[in-house]
């Protein structure tokens, strides 16, 4: 039983924290987040150079970390800094898809920051991309909706239905500039970008297939688990930042002749927020500890965490805005941007209701 980080991991976290503190300015962040690409190449390259991308992978995979607590610790710090750079989408998730498919050559380029891949899952959603085998390779048709940070990627790692039913799906590596690919970019409410990627009779060669055919579900599973853990940890970091800002505000904002932190009704609500955040922290630890356990244990812990993060995140965001009053609703005040991201995290990878329903299904209903 030990809830402290290893020395190595703590060094990585400290390095990242220092970088954010010294170089990552929220006003610039907001500009980059609202740009067409949705993030800044400068910060991206700096983070790559700091070695942050290798932390998510084991030495065998070409990295120097790869434990669940490495991933959680880094994303927690990214959350604290409201970093919009797509480490989740363009490194962690796509890197683990490449790793699961055995493509360590491409993974190496992800780790150095030389290549940016995004994963577009279009075989399980309502909108769907189909891949029909042709003589030369495959013909793709359909739409992958709302692929986050596709605007910044060199290559799209697309899962498409390649067989008779949705269970038969394969991953393909697609050049976003190819003929037959049309992309509609959207700005997003919490910063960053998302794209609808349309495929119209896109012909690709056989070597565009990643891994073996019809195994997308297996390939993507681990990557999705890592991504879910990461976004929970990011949310935790955001909550910590909001907590500190709100405590500062309660300590300094004066109304009725005293700091508002002296009003007992606000104190008790803040106390509730604080203990819920500790519960969220424990949920993330539980999820990290379960990532390598059995499929059921892992799924349960991840759903428990994403549910907890969703419920508590919304509480934290709403209470922080309410405790701030008008100032918390202005663009200029930093806290609101944290609150927006925190709430929007519940809109990615299944919300609190989705994960509670999934959790129930394990042994209750």
């Amino acid at each position: 039983m030990d809830f402290t980080h290893t020395e190595e991991r703590q060094m990585v976290v400290d390095t990242l924290a220092r970088y954010i503190q010294n170089e990552y300015n929220l006003s610039d962040r907001n500009d980059a987040a609202a740009s067409p690409q949705g993030f800044s190449d400068v910060h991206w390259n700096n983070l790559a150079e700091l070695g942050m991308f290798g932390v998510f992978f084991t030495e065998e995979q070409g990295g120097f970390g790869g434990s669940a607590f490495d991933v959680a610790a880094v994303f927690q710090e990214l959350g604290r800094g409201l970093v919009v750079e797509p480490l989740l989408d363009c490194v962690l998730r796509s890197g683990h898809v490449l790793a699961a498919a055995g493509d360590f050559e491409r993974l190496a380029k992800v780790i150095t920051g030389a290549s940016r891949y995004v994963v577009a899952q279009a075989h399980t959603t309502g909108d769907r991309v189909t891949a029909k085998q042709s003589e030369a390779g495959w013909i793709l048709n359909g739409t992958a909706p709302m692929v986050k940070f596709a605007a910044g990627a060199d290559t799209i790692v697309l899962s498409a239905q390649s067989g008779a039913d949705a269970a038969q799906a394969s991953f393909f590596l697609i050049d976003p500039t190819a003929n037959g690919v049309a992309i509609t970019h959207h700005d997003t409410f919490d910063g960053g970008s998302a794209s609808d990627i349309h495929f119209a009779d896109l012909a690709i060669s056989s070597d565009a297939l990643l891994g073996s055919a019809h195994h997308a579900d297996t390939i993507v599973r681990t990557a999705e688990n890592w991504a879910c853990l990461a976004i929970c940890a990011e949310a935790l970091g955001i909550m910590e930042a909001i907590k500190e800002t709100t405590l500062d505000y309660l300590r300094t904002r004066t109304q009725f002749g005293t700091v508002i932190g002296r009003f007992q009704a606000l104190q008790h609500r803040m106390a509730q927020v604080l203990l819920e955040i500790e519960q969220a922290r424990s949920a993330v630890i539980n999820a990290a500890a379960a990532v390598n356990k059995s499929e059921t244990d892992c799924d349960k812990a991840l759903s428990a965490a994403k549910y907890s993060i969703g419920r508590i995140g919304t509480l934290v965001a709403e209470e922080a805005i309410q405790l701030h009053g008008g100032i918390g609703m202005t663009w200029e005040y930093e806290m609101g941007h944290f609150a927006k991201r925190l709430v929007m995290i519940d809109h990615e990878m299944g919300n609190a209701d989705h994960h509670l329903a999934r959790y129930m299904q394990f042994d209750l209903v």
Binding site: Q255, F263, A265, Q322, T330, W331, K340
Partner: protein, 388 residues
């Protein structure tokens, strides 16, 4: 005990519904339905449409050019307007300043300003809050010092909604530092064209622009613009804040939003698992029940006002319930929209399912903050009920 509307009321409802169906420009309804705001030209056009029907100043007494409707008819009108996604009339003119002028203003002020509100000459905004005076409104520090026939105003106001469209502002200003903070406040009408006034936009969390800061530097205001008596402004301010009881519960707007939520749910929930659907349906059912209960709570207060009763803590209760139910509806719409709520709607590029769900949700966090935060309302309830 009779919880139904009278046949006469029902006739009136049909009349309003018919009017709005035939006269509300669809473009305006679309903007409102999507959680947006009309621009100045559009709202003035809608005002003109209502004016021609004699319903613009619908909450005013007949003698001032209003309809003379009681609270029940006013409620029906509000409900039908919300049902049709009609824009709300400018509250600062019709629901806030006008009642104050009618009760506390001079004959001259009423004669001059009320018609200008109706004919579109004046667009009023509100100068209440200051950076250091939010929930503690009585601590305002913007000063008005008498100088001959004028006041000289210095200070800063904030959260001035739609100030960018306004030519006039009604302000709380400090005219005395004697006694309790409430005692030295006056209620002053200021022409925004007066030299020394600067209005600066405040961008809101959802990226929108509807609020402003207003800076006053040696602004010279005729003393005839004082409403009522000097140092009595606090009474008028409180009157203004509690006057609009029929609207505070937002029953009509919430009913409309519930319909929208249920439509969205019917469309989107097809792809959900049976249990996820049940959890979401349970939340929708809860808020539908809360709203049905509040509808009656609101009608009880209306009936009591119509019967000459004086609502006490009820108006604070309705403020809390109304804002919380509306916020829950926004929260559920955001959830039902799901992943697509993350995309900003920006014209043609918006994804098919995109709505302004996240933006409206965040924007409406203001409902529990402005007009006396819900914490202040709870303080009021406690004081009234506990007598402490």
């Amino acid at each position: 005990m009779d919880t139904t509307f009278s046949p006469e009321d029902e006739d009136f409802r049909a009349l309003v519904r018919d009017f709005v169906e035939n006269n509300l420009p669809p473009e305006y309804a679309r903007i409102v339905a999507e959680g947006g705001y009309l621009n100045k030209e559009q709202l003035l056009d809608w005002h003109a449409i209502l004016r021609r029907q004699g319903w613009l100043a619908y909450n005013w007494p007949v003698e001032f050019g209003g309809t003379g409707w009681g609270p029940v008819k006013t409620h029906i009108f509000d409900e039908e307007m919300a049902r049709a996604d009609a824009p709300k009339v400018l509250a600062f003119n019709f629901k806030m300043l006008a009642p104050v002028l009618m009760k506390f203003g001079s004959q001259e002020q009423c004669d001059y300003y009320l018609p200008r509100m109706i004919d579109g000459t004046d667009w009023w905004c509100q100068g209440y809050s200051e950076p250091g005076a939010g929930s503690d409104l009585a601590s305002i520090r913007t000063t008005a010092v008498r100088d001959g026939d004028d006041y000289i105003v210095n200070g800063q106001k904030t959260w001035t909604t739609l100030g960018q469209y306004a030519n006039m502002i009604f302000c709380l200003v400090r005219t005395s530092n004697e006694g309790k903070p409430q005692a030295g406040i006056s209620f002053l009408l200021i022409d925004l064209a007066t030299p020394g006034i600067e209005m600066r936009p405040i961008r809101t969390i959802d990226g929108g622009y509807e609020i402003n800061e207003v800076f006053f530097t040696n602004v010279r205001v005729p003393a005839s613009n004082l409403v009522g008596a000097e140092n009595e402004g606090w009474t008028y301010a409180k009157y203004l804040l509690t006057y609009e009881r029929t609207g505070i519960a937002m029953v009509g707007a919430s009913k409309k939003k519930l319909t929208r939520l249920k439509d969205l749910f019917a469309e989107k929930s097809r792809s959900l698992s049976v249990h996820e659907k049940a959890l979401l349906a349970a939340r929708i059912a809860r808020v539908e029940i809360d709203l049905a209960n509040m509808d009656t709570t609101n009608m009880r207060v209306l009936a009591s006002v119509a019967g000459g009763g004086a609502p006490g803590a009820e108006s604070s209760m309705l403020k809390i319930l109304g804002s919380e139910i509306h916020q829950e509806l926004d929260s559920l719409i955001r959830r039902v929209v799901g992943r697509d709520a993350q995309a900003l709607r920006s014209g043609e590029q918006a994804p098919a399912g995109a709505t302004n769900a996240a933006g409206v949700y965040f924007n409406n966090r203001k409902l529990s903050i402005y007009g006396g935060s819900n914490e202040i309302q709870k303080n009021i309830i406690s004081k009234m009920i506990l007598g402490l």
